[in-house]
Amino acid sequence: MERRKFLKVLGLSSLFLHGWLKELFAAQGATVAVAQGGDHAATTRKALAALGGMQRFVKPGQTVVVKPNIGWDRTPEYAATTNPAVVKALVEECLKAGAKRVKVFDRTCNDPRRCYTSSGIEATLKGMRNVEVKQIEEERFKKVALNGKVLKDAELYGEALSADVYINVPVAKHHGLSRLTLGMKNVMGIMGGNRGAIHRNLDQALADVNAVFRPQLTVIDATRILVAHGPQGGSLADVKVLNQIIASTDMVAADAYATTLFGLKPADIAVTRTAYQRGLGEMRLDRMRIVRA
């Protein structure tokens, strides 16, 4: 009898405690690695090591997508696209961890040929074995049911959906509408169709997509950040060199930390706030473990 009662109490209390327990686990889960250094490849590796190394995410024989931001026809110093050195370091680590194939792509805003060239990413990865840098092919988009708050479904890129591991590698920069564009917004590079239309309700729409499509790892390139006139910039006066790399399995936490680099609070960014409210990750800085490397 005694045992039964105990179980009942435990069962009931777990119902009440459910929310608290969830928060407890969430707080434990959010580890954000922040690495600093002028050698951006080495800095990327340091941040990875702080999270347990790439072998934690990539198992031998797996197919990996490394998704940088190649959205604009800008050279790397303008901080509108992901630093090619960071992308290359990640790709190399994936291969070292035994990845069968690493695919790198982005749905660009400017002409894809110019973006792939100007960003330096195509040239940096050229000639690497088992690495594929291909432009988007329309027929590979697949309709995915989201059943979200504003988006019922979305066209997502097949290569991203079919990958065993998806690594999200945005560059931290200013954005006219969402104030900043970070990990959450980088998912737009695998979205098809009329992407402009989701700007009407950007924070909820991004939460809808990111709730279903979840990267295993987010690495934010803050080697240099664009502080104004984003997301394209075009003037070095708007670029600030920080030499930082932020990595986390919790995209919201990584975004939240990156927000501080711009002198803002995570809650200032509607996209981050909404993601947090919808339980996609942690945005409270005091609830995450920040590991400096």
């Binding site: 002028g38 050698d39 951006h40 490849a41 026809d73 790397p76 110093e77 901080a79 090619p84 050195a85 805003c109 400017n110 002409d111 040929r113 110019r114 060239t117 100007s118 940096t124 291909k134 092919e137 329309e138 027929e139 590979r140 079919s162 954005h175 006219g176 509408l177 009329n194 992407r195 402009g196 239309a197 700007h199 009407r200 309700n201 950007l202 080697t223 240099r224 006139h229 997301p231 394209q232 910039g233 075009g234 003037s235 070095l236 006066a237 708007d238 670029v239 600030k240 060199v241 030499n243």
Partner: protein, 518 residues
């Protein structure tokens, strides 16, 4: 099969060169284009003559055309028999087409009635020669019809292959990449006038039903111009007439022996007669210049040409004012009149345009502007850092500019339509235009405005506005505007297309990449 002669080899080489250059007229990963098909137009005497007559001045880019015209004085219509890619194509197919005999309306002076009005119209300021220039005709058929068709077919197969074999298609990817990068256009583009361009080309092929090289000898204004010059020159075929004992030249000659006497303004110097003469009597040698005009190109045609030129020049000028608002010219074109005089209507700029922003005009810009390039931002915008159209333009109608100059050239100015624009009309956020505006300081900016939403609750939205001083009219805003159909921001033509002022070099910000290991 015809015997291989030097003329034949030259023809095939030039045709191959033309096609290779055509395929190279495309972005290949570098800001400067290595080679483009524009060389053929720069060496085109008809283009040189008509353009220089129209602008009434010397156009240095077209000097090779003058050189060819000068050479024609000594070498006759060698261009037609040795170089012209359209002529070569005709030679390649003509053997399979049965001949029905010359078409009466085309014999005699028809070609002069075509050439003179075109040249005089140029003199009176309307340059229409490009419409009938054989190389332009061929290039337009390729650019607007055959190449997109090939691209469509290949890409269609590639796409449906994905539906059939899925990811295994990746095995074939290296092969497809070669085809995609070197043989087919980068994206599917449908051009207005594609049908018409193909039709003209097929019409020229159709004329082969009547006689060999019917277009070349009866109509082609370029050939006619060269023929006129050739007739003045000293080059002679000996004997000039058919020999009474043989007359085989009549069979071998593709153009000039429908009468007893060789028509020197129609001889394309293929030298078939020399190669095939059983008695080896025939020689081409220099004699005394004849300095006579063909009878069919007499005073009547000349005067008729002037009259025709006036009619063409004056009756081709109508432009509906309301249509003009959307007549956007490629970057660097500041004056419509000068542009129309220089534009060859070859279609190269449209072929090379990185974002497929350029399309041939039909009648929007007036009949005289048929086939001239227009930017249609809703279909494609002008890429900020791209200068390809100016690089390939044979006559400099679109100037070849450095990227930093080109970025400041004004195509038009963007204007919002607040009745459509979401933050105004629907009180929701959008700002896709600001996001895409490539100007470093942003020519489209936005301000946060708090309004009462339609549900009665206050909403804060970003409302965009245009900074005219920074807008170069590239049209990316109109292109990406997420509204369906009509965009809420549109680029309109402006009269004053003075380039934007250079960005101030504010205390030269330090290069953040300096001293960083790649």
């Amino acid at each position: 099969m015809r015997k291989t002669t030097s003329a034949r080899i030259a023809q095939l080489c030039f045709l191959a060169l033309f096609l290779v250059l055509f395929l190279m007229t495309e972005y290949q990963g570098s800001d400067r284009i290595v080679a483009a098909v524009n060389g053929f137009f720069r060496a085109d005497p008809l283009v040189a003559a008509s353009t220089m007559l129209a602008v009434k001045g010397y156009v240095p880019l077209l000097l090779p055309g003058l050189v060819v015209l000068f050479l024609a004085l000594f070498l006759g219509r060698f261009f037609c028999g040795w170089i012209c890619p359209l002529g070569t194509l005709l030679d390649l197919v003509t053997g399979r087409i049965k001949k029905a005999g010359a078409l009466p309306p085309l014999t005699g002076g028809a070609k002069y009635w075509l050439l003179f009005p075109l040249l005089f119209a140029s003199l009176f300021g309307v340059n229409l020669a490009g419409l009938l220039d054989p190389i332009a005709l061929l290039l337009r058929a390729l650019t607007f019809f055959f190449h997109p068709l090939a691209g469509d077919a290949v890409r269609g197969v590639w796409r449906s292959l994905y539906g059939v074999i899925g990811e295994r298609r990746d095995l074939l990817d290296p092969g497809y990449r070669l085809v995609r990068d070197y043989l087919i256009p980068f994206r599917e583009t449908l051009y207005p006038l594609a049908f018409f361009s193909a039709l003209l080309f097929f019409l020229i092929l159709f004329l082969e039903r009547y006689e060999t090289r019917a277009w070349c000898r009866r109509l082609c204004p370029l050939g006619t111009l060269l023929g006129l010059v050739a007739r003045l020159g000293p080059l002679r075929r000996v004997p000039e007439k058919l020999c009474p004992d043989c007359r085989a030249c009549r069979e071998h000659c593709p153009t000039s022996f429908d009468r007893e006497l060789l028509q020197s303004e129609e001889c394309i110097l293929c030298m078939e007669c020399e190669a095939r003469c059983p008695a080896r009597r025939i020689r081409f040698r220099f004699g005394r210049p004849r300095l006579d005009f063909p009878a069919s190109a007499g005073r009547r045609v000349f005067l008729g040409g002037i009259l025709g030129g006036v009619v063409l020049a004056k009756s081709f000028r109508f432009r509906a004012p309301e249509a003009q608002a959307k007549l956007l010219r490629p970057p660097g074109v500041r004056d419509e009149e000068v542009f129309l005089k220089k534009c060859v209507r070859c279609g190269e700029c449209m072929k090379v345009c990185l974002r497929s922003a350029l399309y041939p005009a039909f009648l929007q810009a007036g009949p005289e502007a048929l086939y001239t390039p227009l930017v249609i931002p809703r279909l494609g915008y002008c890429e900020y850092n791209c200068t390809l159209c100016g690089q390939v333009c044979p006559s400099g109608a679109i100037p070849d500019l450095q990227p930093e100059e080109k970025r400041r050239e004004v195509i038009g100015k963007a204007v919002f339509d607040k009745n459509h624009c979401l933050p105004f009309a629907k009180r929701t956020d959008c700002i896709v235009c600001e996001e895409h505006c490539p100007v470093p300081g942003k020519a489209i900016r936005s301000e946060a405005v708090t309004l009462t939403g339609f549900d009665g609750k206050p909403v804060t939205v970003q409302q965009p506005y245009v900074v005219d001083e920074l807008c170069n009219g590239c049209g990316i805003c109109e292109n990406v505007c997420p509204l369906e159909g009509k965009a809420a921001i549109e680029v309109f033509r402006v009269k004053d297309r003075t380039p934007l002022s250079a960005p101030s070099r504010d205390a030269s910000p330090p290069d953040p990449y300096a001293g960083v290991k790649g």
